[in-house]
Symmetry: D2
Subunit: 335 residues, 4 copies
Amino acid sequence: MLGIGVIGYGYWGPNLVRNFAQIQGVRVAAVCDQRPERRAQVAQLYPAVATYASAQELLADPNVTAVAIATAVESHFALAQQALMAGKHLFVEKPFTTTVAEAEQLVAEAACRGLTLMVGHTFIYTSAVRKIKALLDDGTLGTLYYYDSVRINLGLFQHDVNVLWDLAVHDLSIMDYLIGHMPNLVAATGMAHVPGRPENMAYLTCFFPNQLLAHFHVNWMAPVKVRRTMIGGSEKMIVYDDIEMSEKIKVYDKGIIVSDAENAIYQRHVGYRTGDMWAPRLDNIEALKLETEHFTTCIQTGQTPRSDGQAGLRVVRILEAASRSMANHGQPVAL
Amino acid sequence: MLGIGVIGYGYWGPNLVRNFAQIQGVRVAAVCDQRPERRAQVAQLYPAVATYASAQELLADPNVTAVAIATAVESHFALAQQALMAGKHLFVEKPFTTTVAEAEQLVAEAACRGLTLMVGHTFIYTSAVRKIKALLDDGTLGTLYYYDSVRINLGLFQHDVNVLWDLAVHDLSIMDYLIGHMPNLVAATGMAHVPGRPENMAYLTCFFPNQLLAHFHVNWMAPVKVRRTMIGGSEKMIVYDDIEMSEKIKVYDKGIIVSDAENAIYQRHVGYRTGDMWAPRLDNIEALKLETEHFTTCIQTGQTPRSDGQAGLRVVRILEAASRSMANHGQPVAL
Amino acid sequence: MLGIGVIGYGYWGPNLVRNFAQIQGVRVAAVCDQRPERRAQVAQLYPAVATYASAQELLADPNVTAVAIATAVESHFALAQQALMAGKHLFVEKPFTTTVAEAEQLVAEAACRGLTLMVGHTFIYTSAVRKIKALLDDGTLGTLYYYDSVRINLGLFQHDVNVLWDLAVHDLSIMDYLIGHMPNLVAATGMAHVPGRPENMAYLTCFFPNQLLAHFHVNWMAPVKVRRTMIGGSEKMIVYDDIEMSEKIKVYDKGIIVSDAENAIYQRHVGYRTGDMWAPRLDNIEALKLETEHFTTCIQTGQTPRSDGQAGLRVVRILEAASRSMANHGQPVAL
Amino acid sequence: MLGIGVIGYGYWGPNLVRNFAQIQGVRVAAVCDQRPERRAQVAQLYPAVATYASAQELLADPNVTAVAIATAVESHFALAQQALMAGKHLFVEKPFTTTVAEAEQLVAEAACRGLTLMVGHTFIYTSAVRKIKALLDDGTLGTLYYYDSVRINLGLFQHDVNVLWDLAVHDLSIMDYLIGHMPNLVAATGMAHVPGRPENMAYLTCFFPNQLLAHFHVNWMAPVKVRRTMIGGSEKMIVYDDIEMSEKIKVYDKGIIVSDAENAIYQRHVGYRTGDMWAPRLDNIEALKLETEHFTTCIQTGQTPRSDGQAGLRVVRILEAASRSMANHGQPVAL
């Protein structure tokens, strides 16, 4: 029986507990939260789970083999380090850490101790993103030209992190998984409209080798909710709209053909063609179920998680550079 | 009778001719186009209109009091200069010129000669943009926070100008009219995916004083057509979707209220409110009809056109700076 | 403390229990379900609630003052009658009963015993329907011309009742509440595409006095999910789209004006006007919360429920007539 | 050179003239319209075309070999009869005639004289409808279950014909082409909201053998424009949305499978599956171009037009029966 300890029982923690609790051969051994009313709720719903007020107590519990951290991002590093020191396998919610240095230290620490380290890039376990990954990997799209993402709505303002760390982190984790390599240059611009608060809207550009351009628009202050990613390739293009209920992914058979008879034809246009559109069926498996099972499987088999510490580090590296660029009116930052 | 001479009878010229021909007290005196088959078409539809193969001939025609230029952008400056030299009032399609220097010279020339100079920023004469202008001017939106525009589709590739000069020019002319003052910093990134061709996709950011941020996404290679502008203010927000048939403008009564009891409430969110949405009725007057009438009225009354040479110059100034920034991976350029 | 007994803990029962359990001064005293695994679930989540395998036992429990029935429709009548006989106030899920005769008997029985009788027409407690009701009651729409509803999707096939009793019952309960009086004629057509099964698609028309026409399209076999109601009036029209997240209700300022100068103008059109559209903000109160609170308040105050037995009876009356018409290829049936 | 005479140069006539004028080997010989200003417009645009004030004159013109009638429907019969009597091939706009008797007489007359007779069911020549026809003919949809069409908007009120003859005629001509056989029973309900005027909204049901049901919703008084047809089959379903610009046709791989292990599984649902959606590319050929070419080809080759007099007659037969049913509150009428 693999015992999981969950640190932080706020908005997201209950989802982790519920999912870990349903995995065969796994049990939630302990939950810790500073707030007595949150611990009371755990006690009521899961009488068999130990509850602690401090992470130290939880880490001292011999039934806890692996730890999942779902606290505010600024506490991730200290808690994660303590967990690794205590010899626990580790799952950390995204963003992994607040700095590259912290992320690197955790990655090294876990590697050195042979512990599993996974970051909660939940979106990469969704049926939509897994489907897109399959379409990219089998060459359906051809050469990638661009990745364009919009994630906006009128919602919660975070007081501690800017909108990039709060919203773009989702899209960067998706892009990292889909594209599979790092950009070499990053530029970001943003604006804080509430005095003394972090940026509530931002635009982020990532430059890749081979003329691939990625762009992200995030905004806490939009009049409408949009969750749309377009991925353009030489052969096909994908529109992934996460708000759509029945057709989240549309694959467009539209590409550019540059005509050979250039002079004659190029006068007014590059030849273009338009073709069918196809919206593939997606499976219904819950992302968080896959994610939590993947974590426990990795612990049991020694397999490297799909969203390992390196993935978390790569995303933090982009976010850190983007924040630097944003402070500088979009001055590009090399990675 | 005010006689108009139209130079260039390709894609857009016929629309200008048709509209000028319907204005009371105005007549299309002459049309010039190098291609005999285009001149033949004019002759067939408008037997009373003189046709010329060269602009020189048209400018020499004593019936021509004012000239409208609807040729490829690289020929605008030379033709415009000749027209002004010949003492003609001048209407030039957008983009006004290919450089700031050219635009400045034309503005100075027209001013010096007391000639009317207007640039074909057609969108600012649409019922949608006029309605938005009214809402901005009466303070409905409060303090402006952002201007975000997306104009993308799979369409014609221009071989001579990049996608900013072809598509963003529309949005910059709209923004110039709506906002009424210039940004002080510009940054743009883009990519050319067809070897040896200009950029086919670009992102442009304009920084204004007072924390107003404007952003433009243009793309010739998208799988779907999008024409959407969001304008966010402290009191209300507008979504302007030019593809919508019946509800092009939606006004959202959604704003941000920063709560006074900060510590208590700001823990998780800036207070927010959501309210009604309102889609105002728009009139059906054709933009080009208004625009051509406005030009002739300005000639007759000496009034300064709403989209005068200065407006054309401002848009070219942004485009020139943006192209410079784009060549530099988004390095910001001060205006 | 008002004690509620819930009969049936299948799909909907848990929602009733959860809502009744949260009302001040009310408690769920008992739940009954034939299936041991359902009773076990109640026992786990609500240790203080008594569980019974039979309705008789629940009705004999002295802590049960009022009963809510959430079983299959064919069992409603027998259970409801027993509950009333046992002197319990009564809440019955929709459809109220399977025949008019049954509904009449229950209404009479409750009246005679002075017991509160309410039918679970949940939709009339939603913020959208309450808003529409307010707009109708204050005369905003003018004279009502039509009521057109579409409720379709590829979903569950009911084996016991046809699609009218399963889907149209929602729309009829909404219409009954909004319009406030009965149609005098009903016609329905439908088709059963699975041999030996009830109709899986149907069209229902209700004729009202004063030229008001209502029409309902229901279908278990559609390729897409639609939940849309249009209400046309002489002054304004409403589109109520229950799938829309942010703008469920749109009010169109479009009506018909019949011009006075008939002969001259009527040649080609009745004069028409188009105006603004307005999407009012809706509150976020959960319908089932309002509904369950309303039931308990009615018991405590003697007030007649908004969706009382008469409302349930009216809806069953239409459904019964519609089924009769449908068996006859749409032969109209007078009410 | 095949000479065409067009009778009626109002809203639709100019489109016919423009298209006939572009066909190789065909010329528009004459146009007739009672209104001098309409004739003047013909004379200006097409100096070589003879213009007449009366149909008699046009029919007497020896250059006219075939006649196209685009006048108000009540004049179709008399004009068509005169044209056939004069030995002209005949194209009549839809609705073909105002009664079945008239349509039968014209069909017989044309057959007896060996003249080509075609009805202007333009929609069946659109790329969308041709694509659907191909999908039906190759068995892609399986057994047809239903045909559901909505054609509504706030538009012109016809003073002479009711909304069925004005709007449903389009959908009936499409259905006639797609399904290929007649319904055996028709029921319709409708309402006239402007005193003394024909019905402005209607619902029409057509019963076919083999459990196929067709339904049409037409309305001149809706707040929004809808043009949507759903076609449900045992294997696939089609949604045809004529307002969509880029994806007019969507084919859903969703059907019903009735499970064999009935008792166990049928408790709650007929087994269902959901699959991919596919939006096929459509060609860009203008329907009216195909239609007019088809008419002239049929004259030249003796081929029977796809939308011949029989097709026109079948549609009129349904419309006549539907009007009868509508006058009777939906009493079904056998065909």
